[in-house]
């Protein structure tokens, strides 16, 4: 059963920006830069970074979700893309 393009589920994948890379490509780039890793490791690194970002927010907004759960949430990842990609922000 096909779904319309752009349909997102809670357990789906986060949208990657036009310039964003997939885990295999990230693994290739980092391997070329001398840090050997495969796509699964790239994903683990990514999720760990997201978890670090999620943990203070879990404390700030008490939703009953764990940082690990929030880190894997595509909507949270989308929000992070928007915050980190925004040139207007003052981070």
């Amino acid at each position: 059963m096909s779904m319309p393009k752009g349909t997102k589920f809670k357990s789906g994948y986060a949208t990657v920006t036009d310039q964003g890379l997939g885990y295999r490509e990230i693994a290739e780039v980092l391997t070329a830069e001398g840090y050997k890793m495969n796509h699964a490791t790239a994903r683990n690194y990514f999720l760990r970074a997201m978890e670090k970002l999620a943990s203070p927010m879990v404390k700030l907004v008490n939703t009953g979700r764990t940082a690990e759960d929030l880190a894997a949430d595509p909507q949270f990842q989308d929000a992070m893309i928007q915050i980190l990609s925004s040139k207007k922000r003052d981070v």
């Binding site: 036009d18 001398g34 700030l60 925004s86 981070v91």
Partner: protein, 244 residues
């Protein structure tokens, strides 16, 4: 002052009897200008009295009196003594119409004359209904009372909303705030929201500083935040050297 003069002028002339009215009307028909003048001036009191009924309509009393005089003159010119009615019976309709037209015509929303009359009737029905039953009637009830289609009543009621000046003070002259001041500025940033955003950004900033170089690099590649873009400086720890 003008108003006082009108009152003075009106009370100066004594009221006419039926016979005098007929006599003056007959002379008027023959072209007697004095008779016309006399019929007008003798009924100024009536005109002022009718104008006085509209004094709560936010229109200066002088204007109302002036309009009632115009109505009176129109009535004098159209009065037919042969019908056997008193002049005041006939004139009162012309005076009312003239004043009502002026009062409604000074509104910002223009309605055809017939619709304005209907609005007047709707308002009257609403007022009387409220006085009797302590609730305002529905459009259906008004339509039934007036014998008009519900659609017409609904349309007129939505159109007859009285516009207010945003700069006028709330609660009359003594109000310290204007209506404009009570309108929400949707463009203004909510202070608490801005504070939350600031807090969130400072949290993110703190976390980004604690990312390992590999994590930061992966995040950067995943999100497409490259060194070529200006936002590279947004990552506080720009220490990744690429080789480890």
């Amino acid at each position: 002052m003008q108003q006082f003069k009108s009152y003075q002028q009106a009370t100066k002339h004594k009221l006419l009897t039926k016979e005098e009215e007929v006599d003056l009307a007959q002379k008027m028909e023959k072209g007697d200008k004095w008779a016309r003048e006399k019929l007008i001036t003798s009924n100024l009191r009536l005109a002022i009295s009718e104008a006085n009924k509209f004094r709560n309509s936010n229109v200066p009393m002088e204007d109302l009196i002036q309009e009632s005089h115009i109505g009176l003159i129109r009535a004098v010119d159209r009065f037919d003594w042969r019908r056997g009615f008193r002049f005041s019976t006939y004139a009162v309709w012309w005076i009312k119409q003239s004043v009502r037209r002026y009062v409604n015509g000074s509104s910002h929303v223009k309605f055809p004359s017939g619709s304005r009359n209907l609005i007047w009737k709707i308002n009257n029905v609403r007022r009387e209904y409220e006085k009797e039953f302590s609730v305002y009637p529905t459009n259906e009830e008004i339509a039934e009372i007036l014998g008009e289609p519900v659609n017409t009543v609904a349309n007129l009621r939505s159109g007859m909303q009285w516009p207010i000046n945003l700069d006028s003070p709330i609660g009359g002259e003594d109000g310290s705030r204007t209506f404009g001041e009570t309108i929400e500025d949707t463009d203004a940033k909510d202070p608490s929201e801005a504070l939350d955003q600031q807090k969130l950004l400072s949290l993110i900033h703190g976390v980004l500083e604690n990312l390992s170089p590999q994590e930061e690099r992966v995040l950067r590649l995943r999100f497409g935040i490259t060194e070529k873009e200006n936002n590279i400086q947004n990552f506080p720890s720009n220490q990744y050297k690429g080789v480890r």
